[in-house]
Amino acid sequence: MPGIPSRHKSIFLLTGVVLLQVLLLALQIKRDSEGRLIRVWTVGAFSPFERAGNHGIGHLRETWRHYFALQNASRENEQLRHENDELKMQVNQLQSKAIEADRLALLLNFHKSHENVPMLGARVIATSAGTASATIMLDRGSKDHIKKNMGVITPEGVVGKVVEVYDSTSEVLLLTDKDSGVGAMLSSSRKQSPVGGAGEPLLVMKYVANDDTVNIGEHVVTSGMDKIFPRDLPIGTITDIKPGNPFKSIRIRPSADLERLEEVIVLLTLQPLQMNLEPETGKPSASVATKPAGETAKPSASAASKPAGEAVKSRTSGAAAKPAPATVTAAPVPASENAAAAVKPE
């Protein structure tokens, strides 16, 4: 062996011979789970380098990607930010549309479940400018056959009544306005008493005697006595009861969210109506369930019994309110000329 001192030759030879035999051993031994020992050793010997190489290459690649290959990153970042803004806007629009679709679906369902009642969907386009009154402006007016004192509702409950009508818009006095009122009754005891606004979010039921039994949580529904709203439309839920002289002071949380109205339904008749409240209409069903069976068994009148001028076909705004064939029912009660006075409890 040239280049190796002769005294070390035997050491090299020993090393070589021993390694050769170790290799020979490795070729023969087969471990149960790992295959031949030579393979285990080879893998064991190479895998650290492979791992190290992989790790190093990974680092290099990451370094290159994150620190050196940034020529277009700024432009790309700007583009992505712009794209992100657009997508956020789209998401917001879609969410808003989805919420609107839900609301319109609710209106449509309500309309379908009361196909006989002439009603018109309308959008809220404005609210009262000051806090002295609680009114909203609708995008429907006399052109759409809306008349003064017509009732305005949502599927959740009573909203108010039309107080001013213009060509293409109309103004609605909300139930929460202190000058507003609606004929009402307790859903369980059927005790009647008008409910009015107090210039605050809660409504007030004024004429319930101290002797009468009233419970917190009890539902209040329309009585139909104001000749504006049909019977048993939900008005609200009693939240507070205080004894007074001579009447109890009862506060009611409105069923309809009067502070967030976007679409409403205008009842296109001044005839007293008998609503056909069915379970699928949601909240109204609760009040229906409390109604004695006998009271709902009034004979329904045909559409022909309506005065011609009032027999307005159902019309709706937007996709929510499609015209639907009427199947029910204006109760055979003559229209009251001073309906507004009937609503006012005082």
């Binding site: 002769s6 035997s10 020993l14 011979v17 170790v22 020979l24 471990r31």
Partner: protein
Amino acid sequence: MNDAFDIRNMESHIEVHKFRGGAIVGATLLALMFQAFVPVYFAKAAMIDLPLLITIYFGLSRRNPSTGLLLGMVIGLLQDSLSGPTVPLGLYGIAKTVIGYLASSIGARLDTEHPAARFALTIIFFGLHQGIVLLTRRILLAQSSVWFTMHLAAAAVVNAIVAVFLFALLDHLRKS
């Protein structure tokens, strides 16, 4: 064998022995045959490792590490081959290669002709041989083995005693 001459020059008082033709081969084959067949009839004879003693003797006598380790390798591999399928080729080969190298290296530096020295060296080499075999079993073959038993200690002594007489016998194979 330049190595042998180098050693002889450095350690002029240590003699390098040469053997009659066929002595190493014959002794090796006889030792392997004894190791393979005698224990069949005398089980206790299995504790005597004649191939190891031959490796030690020729290593100490030839005093050439290269030939010593090669002789140890050959004897070891032959012993592996005769030990059945459970002993992989290389188990005794590695051990006897190392022993052959060490015996040759020591023989080149120390006087190993005295029976006491031979006795002591045989015990040491036997222990070393067992240690290498055990390490090989544990590390390379993943087999469990005990480090020390009284049987091994007794075997070391028996082999050392046998070595004293065997080496004296083998001395007659040297060229005068």
